[in-house]
């Protein structure tokens, strides 16, 4: 437990909190900008079971912001490289991988095993799928999404709370990827850290979880705003 001594010293955590972190089962969907930033912090804090889902391979244009990948990883499956990285970082935890994109058929068979699903996807189709699967099993979905220097963070389907569809009912939308619209690695990493923080709050049962609230942060002006929303029929 020496590895976790600093966080155990927090009165909010202690040995019992560390046991909760160790027992947690967390699925991360998408190991791109958000996913590769969040994973080292989940692994190093000792989350006992991490499952990584992504069918993509590392490309050179990922390297400016997806900092767990190196030039020699280009062409390799992201989940395999990420699994090796997390195993080196913390051999005490279990890291499982699905080297494919989430879909409804196999997703609904496995998603019920997880305590938390982290939405690190980069397109609306996947995001609505993560939402619908987590809503089906009432599993908290820790969400972030970015556009240039702005980002949104929330937690959906938390204790029967509102879902992504309660916030954005539309499913038809132009899909601008980070690559298309432009992004800095530091921007996407910052929103991944908000996600990590919500994950630990949920596991530990501390603080106020961002359920029914959308945190919006504009990094150019440093203006931050919280928007509230509630359950409605679109769930």
């Amino acid at each position: 437990m020496n590895r976790y001594k600093a966080q155990i010293q927090l009165p909010h955590i202690g040995s019992s909190g560390q046991e909760k972190i160790k027992a947690a089962r967390v699925m991360v969907v998408g190991i791109g900008g958000l996913g590769s930033a969040i994973l080292p912090y989940l692994a190093s804090a000792g989350i006992g079971h991490l499952t990584l889902v992504d069918g993509d391979v590392v490309s050179e244009s990922n390297l400016s912001r997806q900092v767990i990948y190196r030039l020699q990883d280009v062409g390799r499956l992201k989940v395999e490289v990420a699994q090796e990285y997390m195993n080196r970082m913390n051999p005490e935890i279990q890291v499982d991988i699905f080297p494919k994109f989430l879909d409804l058929d196999w997703g609904r068979d496995i998603i019920g095993q997880y305590d938390i699903v982290v939405d690190c996807t980069d397109n609306f189709r996947s995001r609505y799928l993560v939402n619908d699967l987590t809503a089906m099993y009432n599993i908290p979905m820790v969400f972030a999404a970015v556009y240039q220097f702005e980002g949104q963070v929330s937690v959906f389907n938390y204790k029967n709370g509102p879902s992504y569809r309660c916030l954005f009912p539309e499913t038809e939308g132009k899909n601008l990827s980070c690559f298309d619209s432009g992004i800095m690695g530091s921007t996407v990493a910052l929103f991944a850290m908000y996600q990590a923080n919500e994950i630990f709050k949920i596991i530990l049962g501390i603080g106020e979880v961002l359920s029914g609230q959308l945190l919006i942060y504009d990094l150019l002006s440093n203006e931050q705003r919280k928007i509230t929303f509630s359950n409605h029929d679109n769930k």
Binding site: G30, G35, D122, V146, G173, V188
Partner: protein, 69 residues
Amino acid sequence: MADLTARDEETISLLMLNVLELYDWLMETYKLESIPFSIAVNNEIVPVTSDVALQENDEIAVLPPYAGG
């Protein structure tokens, strides 16, 4: 959204009674057909089809979903 409308914020003075009329005005003024968005009144999301009446000095936020990750 700021790119599409070329503005971060705007004060409007219109004879709009409810959120649905505001939605229609936004669509017509800024041609927002290509992008979905939600509307918050005083930091609370309201359905865009809502007949919730707007009050003087209400703060309206127009929120598109972001895709990037």
